[in-house]
C-alpha cells in the first residue's frame, strides 16, 4: 500500500487504532473513487486501515422496504467481517446509521453490539475520534453543502433547523479547514433530497421533484460542486444533473478532504 506523506498539521499517532473500512455496496461498485479517497484520507491521518474483503452491504435496502426480517444473513456477514475492528468507518451517513440501529447477529450478539457501538460516519470519526483541528488541503471552488438526513437527524452530524438548539456542523468544521473553498448552503438548509432508498423508484415522481428542487436551491448560489456525506444523495442528484446536462458536479466530502 503506497503511503502518502502525512499532512495533518496536528499529527497525533493514530496507528494503534485499527479501522475497519466499511464501503457501501453501491460505492464499491459505482463510486470507487470515493472509497479510495476515504482510505487514503484515513491513512494520511495516521490510521491503520483494513478493508475486510468479504463485506457486501449493510442491509438497508431490504430493511427500509419492510424486509428487515430478510437481513439475518447479511447481518451475519457484516458482523463476521467487522467484529475485530476497533472502529468501523463508513463514508455514508445512512449506512452507518442503519448499522448503528439495526445490526443484530443472533449468532454473535457480542460482535454485533461491538460494531454498533463503534461504527462512525467519516466526518464524525475525524472530528470526534481523531479530533482533527486542521488539514493541509486546498480546494478553491464554490461548493454547495448538501445535508443528508440520516447523518444529520440520525447521527447528529449537524444541528437541525426544526430544533431550538445551538448550531453546529461536523462536516462544515472540516470543510472550513480547506483552503480556498467557498461553502454555501441552499435555502431550506436541511430539506431532504428525495432519494429515500427504494422510494427513489417506487415514488419516482416525488423523488425526482424533490431532487430537482434541491438542485434549483443550490444553483441559486452559483456553485460549481455539490458535496455531502452520503453517496446515495449525491448519486440521485448527479443523475438529475446529468440529465439536465448541467455543469455542476457532485463530489463526496472525502474527495475534497483528500484532494
Amino acid at each position: 500500500m503506497q503511503r502518502t506523506h502525512l499532512n495533518s498539521l496536528t499529527l497525533k499517532d493514530h496507528s494503534h487504532i485499527k479501522v475497519g473500512l466499511f464501503i457501501p455496496c453501491y460505492v464499491d461498485q459505482f463510486y470507487p473513487q470515493i472509497a479510495i479517497a476515504t482510505l487514503q484520507l484515513l491513512e494520511k491521518l495516521g490510521c491503520k486501515v483494513e478493508y475486510p474483503l468479504n463485506q457486501t452491504c449493510c442491509g438497508q435496502p431490504m430493511s427500509n422496504s419492510g424486509f428487515n426480517s430478510l437481513t439475518q444473513n447479511c447481518n451475519k456477514n457484516f458482523t463476521d467481517n467487522f467484529k475485530d475492528a476497533d472502529y468501523i468507518v463508513c463514508p455514508s451517513g445512512s449506512c452507518a446509521l442503519h448499522i448503528k440501529e439495526h445490526l443484530h447477529d443472533e449468532t454473535n450478539a457480542a460482535g454485533s453490539e461491538h460494531i454498533r457501538k463503534h461504527i462512525y460516519e467519516l466526518t464524525e470519526f475525524l472530528t470526534d475520534v481523531l479530533n482533527i483541528e486542521s488539514l493541509n488541503v486546498s480546494f478553491p471552488h464554490k461548493v454547495g453543502m448538501h445535508i443528508s438526513c440520516h447523518g444529520q437527524r440520525g447521527l447528529h452530524l449537524s444541528s437541525m433547523t426544526e430544533l431550538v438548539a445551538p448550531e453546529f456542523s461536523k462536516p462544515e468544521k472540516l470543510l472550513n479547514m480547506v483552503q480556498g473553498l467557498e461553502l454555501s448552503y441552499p435555502k431550506r438548509k436541511d430539506e431532504c433530497c428525495g432519494f429515500g432508498g427504494t422510494f427513489c423508484v417506487f415514488e419516482e415522481a416525488v423523488s425526482v421533484k424533490m431532487g430537482k428542487d434541491r438542485l434549483k436551491a443550490h444553483e441559486a448560489n452559483d456553485i460549481e460542486y455539490i458535496t455531502g456525506g452520503d453517496v446515495s444523495c449525491l448519486m440521485h442528484l448527479e443523475g438529475i444533473l446529468k440529465r439536465q446536462k448541467s455543469n455542476v458536479k457532485v463530489i463526496h466530502i472525502a474527495e475534497i478532504l483528500n484532494s
Binding site: 500500500m1 435496502p61 429515500g196 415514488e203 416525488v206
Partner: protein
C-alpha cells in the same frame, strides 16, 4: 367500495402540474417558516415539547382512570356523556339526539373525528342539513371535496377556485378573487346558519379529566358562534384527547398553535364546563380503533397527537403530493402511522410515502417518533402480507445476493459490464430510475478490485 388510489400514483398525477405543485409546496413551507420563527423565540421550547410528551405518556398509561374521572366530572356539571365503540355508533348517537330533538339544521365546526366517521354524508342521507362552518371546510364542502389538511382544509385551492365556488353557491361576483371580499361573503352567509341552527357540533382539542370540561380552539370563532346560539351542543372526541389537569392546558396551549400556524395562540381558546341555562350539552367519546392502537407498543405513541399538522407542513413529500393523495381524513406523516391501524390493506401504501428524513419527528410538539413508526409499519405490513409478490420476490433476490460475497461481487461485475456495453438494456423506459435521471457511470473496477491490485503491488 371504491378502490383506493395508491399514494405513488396520486402523487404522480399531482406533480404533473409542476407549477401548481411548486405553489402548494411554497405555501406550506411558508407555514413551516412561520412556525420556526415563533418557536425559535421561545428558549424553553424543547422543554415544553418534553413536558407535552411526558404528560401524554402519563395520560395514556392511565387512560381508563382519566376517562372515568372525566365522565364523572362532566356529568356532575350537567353534560351528558356518550360512548361510541366505532364510527357507526358515533354517527347513530348523534342522529338519535337530533331525531329526539326534531333537529333539521346542524352547524359543525372543525372536527377531524367527524370526518373520520363520515358523519356528514350519514346525516344528510337522513334528511338533516349539516353546514361546516370553518371557512376552509365550508369551501371544500361546497365543492364536494374532502379537506386536504387537518388545520388548513382548503390549502390545495387557489383564490380563483374559491371565487368560482362562491360564485356558484353563494352568488358572489364572478371573478372577484379578493380574499377579504370572499371571507366577508362567507361571514354573512354563515351568520344566518349559526342563527338558524338547531344543533351545533364541535370537536374537542383537549378534555380535562380533573374538571370534566373541554377546550375548543379556533381562529374564526365559528365553534362558539354555533355552540352558544344553538339549543344543543354536541362535542365529539377521541379517547386520546384527555389530559389530566387544567394546569396541563398551559403546556398544550403554548405548544399547539405555534406548531400549527406559527401564531402564539388561536384567537379563541374556549373552555366549556357547563351548558348554559336551557341548553343541552353532550360529549361523545369515541374509540374507533384507538384502544387497539394503544395496545401496539410500537405505535401507541401516535395517540399523543394533538392534531397540529406541523408534520404535514414540514414533510417534503406531503408538500409535493397534496393531502388527497393520502386518501384519508388525516393525511400526512401522522396519518401514515394512524391509518394502517384502522385498515392495513387500504393503507399499506402510506408508510412508504416517505424518505424517512425525520423532519416530522423534530417538529412534533409532543415528540412522537413518527419516522421510526413509519419504518416499523413497513415491517408489520410486509409481515402481514400487504406487499406485492413481485416486490417480495425482488427483495428475496437482493437479500440473497447481498448475503453472499461471491454472488454479490459477480452480480456487481456483470451489472457494470452490461451497463458499459449494453446501456440500452438498462437505460430504457422499464427502468423507473432512468425516467428522469441518468444512471451513474459504471467503472471498470470496483473498489475491492482496485484495493486488491494495490495490495499486490
Amino acid at each position: 367500495m371504491q378502490k383506493v388510489i395508491e399514494h405513488a400514483i396520486a402523487a404522480e398525477a399531482f406533480i404533473a402540474d409542476e407549477a401548481r405543485t411548486d405553489w402548494h409546496d411554497e405555501t406550506l413551507w411558508f407555514v413551516r417558516q412561520k412556525r420556526d420563527k415563533m418557536v425559535h423565540g421561545i428558549p424553553e421550547w424543547e422543554q415544553l415539547r418534553q413536558l407535552g410528551s411526558g404528560i401524554k405518556d402519563h395520560t395514556l398509561s392511565n387512560l381508563d382512570t382519566y376517562l372515568k374521572e372525566f365522565e364523572k366530572n362532566a356529568q356532575a356539571n350537567g353534560i351528558t356523556v356518550h360512548w361510541a365503540a366505532d364510527a357507526e355508533e358515533h354517527n347513530t348517537i348523534i342522529l338519535e339526539i337530533a331525531k329526539k330533538n326534531n333537529v333539521k339544521q346542524i352547524v359543525k365546526s372543525k372536527s377531524m373525528l367527524t370526518e373520520e366517521c363520515h358523519l356528514n354524508p350519514f346525516l344528510i342521507s337522513k334528511g338533516i342539513e349539516v353546514v361546516d362552518t370553518d371557512l376552509g371546510e365550508r369551501i371544500v364542502q361546497l365543492r364536494n371535496e374532502a379537506p386536504s389538511h387537518i388545520v388548513l382544509p382548503a390549502i390545495h385551492l387557489k383564490k380563483q377556485d374559491v371565487s368560482d365556488t362562491f360564485h356558484k353557491h353563494l352568488h358572489t361576483e364572478k371573478g372577484n378573487n379578493d380574499p377579504q371580499y370572499l371571507t366577508e361573503s362567507a361571514r354573512l352567509h354563515l351568520r344566518h346558519k349559526f342563527i338558524e341552527a338547531d344543533l351545533a357540533i364541535t370537536g374537542v382539542n383537549f378534555a380535562v379529566a380533573e374538571t370534566g370540561g373541554f377546550v375548543v380552539c379556533t381562529n374564526e370563532g365559528n365553534a362558539d358562534m354555533g355552540a352558544h346560539a344553538a339549543k344543543i351542543h354536541i362535542a365529539c372526541m377521541g379517547i386520546e384527547k384527555i389530559i389530566p389537569k387544567a394546569e396541563h392546558l398551559g403546556v398544550f396551549l403554548r405548544l399547539l398553535t405555534r406548531s400549527a400556524t406559527g401564531q402564539p395562540i388561536t384567537t379563541y381558546s374556549s373552555h366549556f364546563h357547563k351548558p348554559r341555562k336551557g341548553q343541552q350539552m353532550h360529549v361523545v367519546i369515541v374509540d374507533n380503533g384507538r384502544s387497539k392502537q394503544l395496545g401496539r407498543s410500537d405505535f401507541k405513541n401516535s395517540l399523543k397527537c394533538i392534531r397540529c399538522a406541523a408534520c404535514f407542513n414540514t414533510c417534503p413529500v406531503y408538500r409535493r403530493s397534496g393531502g388527497h393523495s393520502y386518501h384519508n381524513a388525516t393525511a400526512g406523516p401522522i396519518g401514515s402511522i394512524l391509518n394502517p391501524n384502522i385498515n392495513m390493506r387500504e393503507n399499506a401504501d402510506l408508510p412508504f410515502a416517505s424518505t424517512l428524513c425525520g423532519s416530522c419527528t423534530n417538529v412534533c410538539p409532543v415528540k412522537i417518533n413518527i419516522h421510526e413508526q413509519l419504518w416499523k409499519w413497513r415491517q408489520v405490513l410486509t409481515e402481514e402480507g400487504y406487499t406485492s409478490s413481485g416486490k417480495k420476490a425482488g427483495m428475496k433476490g437482493i437479500a440473497f445476493v447481498l448475503s453472499n460475497p461471491i454472488v454479490y461481487r459477480l452480480s456487481g461485475k456483470i451489472g457494470r459490464w452490461v451497463l458499459r456495453h449494453f446501456p440500452k438494456l438498462v437505460n430504457n423506459r422499464l427502468n423507473p430510475w432512468y425516467k428522469q435521471r441518468d444512471m451513474p457511470e459504471a467503472p471498470k473496477e470496483s473498489f475491492r478490485e482496485w484495493y486488491l491490485k494495490q495490495k499486490q503491488s
